[in-house]
Symmetry: C2
Subunit: 338 residues, 2 copies
DNA sequence: AAGCTTTACGTTAACGCTAACGTTACTTTT
DNA sequence: AAAAGTAACGTTAGCGTTAACGTAAAGCTT
């Protein structure tokens, strides 16, 4: 449409300013080697000509880029938005751009994306969780590019890792629940294998009740359209087939959906049934009843992860694996005493 | 760290496979000019060598890329996640990657991002809304790259546009509210100038009540940490200084926060006060009382936008400006009859 | 004022890839 | 069996930028 077809390149600017290409390059990048006078003159002309540097040529020449690739399971929900915000601000102020992708919890999609991304010679790559295709791991280990695994914790990361221990989080919930006297807990989650972090939390919870009370933990794993209705539907399913005294959820939104279900069925919380969420999400701040939940430091995680990755990119040695603390927040949706 | 420093390039693969560079290039890109036998052989060797093509070199050579830049105000909330999902799926299956950025509602940040993005020779650019810095508009109009403006509607887009008319949405709410007999409506939003779409809706609502009843519409614009508490706080502020018979919100999450506030103050909905949300968000599906709201087709918008942009990229002429329909959904938080 | 250092430039050769055009070898046609 | 076509390759010349090196002029030292 607007076809002044040939875009202006550095050469055109050089010609217009009557200097060499290198002087323009130096002026634009702000490196030494041009007098202050020429620099301002060149920059003025470049602006007038609407010159836009070609990052492809630059990255090709210097064999790296200032791109950071970030892979998330999904954009839905606050969790990854929080982590992302923490990371992005850090990267931005360090002059890096982020290329974000979501896998929708599909490791195959993650692999495809990693392959595509690697072709852009990014400065760093961030993956969510520690559960990846074998080929993804090999590809990344073979490349010199720093890799950060976030949200999940492992002692054996691809490169470096900042996260929380979800199995331990499940145990924490289990221990508090047991101490409060609950003996028939249940867990509402998403379909098995979909969210491996959720699976780990459930396992942690199960471990505790198996050990302490030789009790098994029921679970419901509906596949609904969103968190709220997943919580609602899973709760309905559980209550139809059993009588749990406590229901733990994958996150607070699901817990809210579950509370709505209990309310509809005339069950009062916490008298008839206890409810435990996860993540301490925004909605809690306006609920009339304080939800029992687990606080996760998502923004902090993003910032810490980004910092470590940047350090790693700059060749500084950082700790392989950082485990962030969790806090069990006792609200009004569980009993106050054992 | 893992420094087999020299990454393998197409030349190395060619040497290993005993063919010319071009044969490898053709095999990898899947274009004509290599026998099926050689192709599979080359691909096998390339995989073994963990060859990753260099997109920078490719883009430099062909003078374009398969990147689509997407600028959103924020990752928070469902709205942009929905739009994004619609778009990304469409782009993905067409072989494009998306580079996403958030401006946090700052036009200056948008400009900086547009400049950076243009340097990557993207295939297309997507901006949210129609409110941009003058320089942003000039830069984009001067470039040959197709630009899509989404979410908002205008008859005079930079290039093409797919969205809804927020002023009209405000009028729609106003007309229904007036018809239901409300005479003292109020609006809870975010600080002025922050979200221009919200401002447009408020203006639409005001227009109707000014015309029909010569009434002004009160507004509260708190700056809280999240949607839920913004709704809660704004409602508290309004109720402290006036007695509205209806409160309209920027979105359903804020409306929910507002309902919680009303509940805390002993006001019953819809008897004492009416509540209207916006967007028909997920949470509505589990609330015991159906919220009156306006349904927006966000996924569809994403898909339609992406399709149009792709067509535009491929040189197909598409309609400049597409206006998607809105639907006023009458729930149980407003009176049933005027 | 000769020698040395510093600053301000310019020249050249990549960076890894692909479009465009050449060159083979292999079919088909007559 | 010669001519003519066609599919399968290979060669060359960029794409726009920067690192590395080269050169000339200016400043400093004694």
């Amino acid at each position: 449409m607007d076809s002044r077809d040939k875009t202006t390149k550095i050469e055109d600017v050089a010609a217009a300013a009557n200097v060499s290409i290198m002087s323009v390059s130096r002026a634009i990048r702000g490196v030494e080697g041009v007098s202050e006078k020429k620099r301002t003159e060149i920059l003025k002309i470049a602006r007038q000509m609407k010159y836009v540097p070609n990052s492809n040529a630059r990255s090709l020449a210097v064999a790296n880029s200032n791109l950071i690739g970030i892979s998330l399971p999904t954009f839905a929900g606050e969790v990854f938005a929080d982590i992302l915000n923490g990371m992005r601000r850090t990267f931005d102020s360090a002059g890096y751009s982020s290329v974000i992708d979501t896998t929708e919890y599909d490791p195959e999609a993650e692999l495809k994306w990693v392959r595509r991304l690697l072709s852009w010679q990014p400065a760093g790559i961030i993956l969510t969780g520690t559960d990846h295709q074998q080929e993804t791991i090999e590809l990344l280990k073979a490349s010199p590019i720093p890799v950060l695994e976030i949200w999940d914790h492992t002692e054996d990361p691809i490169d470096i890792c900042v996260g929380i221990d979800h199995h331990q989080a499940g145990q924490m919930i289990g221990e508090h629940a047991y101490a409060l006297g609950y003996r028939a807990p249940a867990f509402v989650s998403t379909p098995r294998g979909y969210d491996t972090r959720a699976d780990a939390r459930l396992t942690g919870l199960r471990d505790v009740f198996l050990r302490e009370a030789s009790t098994s933990v029921l679970s419901a794993r509906p596949a609904s359209s969103n968190s709220f209705s997943t919580g609602f539907d899973g709760t309905a399913e559980l209550l139809d087939r059993a009588t749990p005294d406590l229901i733990c959820y994958l996150n607070d939104h699901m817990a809210f959906g579950g509370m709505m279900c209990c309310q509809e069925r005339g069950l009062s919380v916490p008298e008839d049934i206890g409810i435990v969420g996860f993540n301490q999400l925004d909605i809690l701040s306006v609920l009339p009843v304080k939800l029992t939940t687990v606080r996760t430091l998502r923004r902090l995680m993003g910032i810490a992860g980004a910092r470590n990755l940047l350090a790693r990119i700059n060749g500084v040695v950082v700790e392989k694996s950082q485990n962030l603390p969790l806090e069990f927040v006792i609200g009004q949706t569980t009993r106050q005493q054992g």
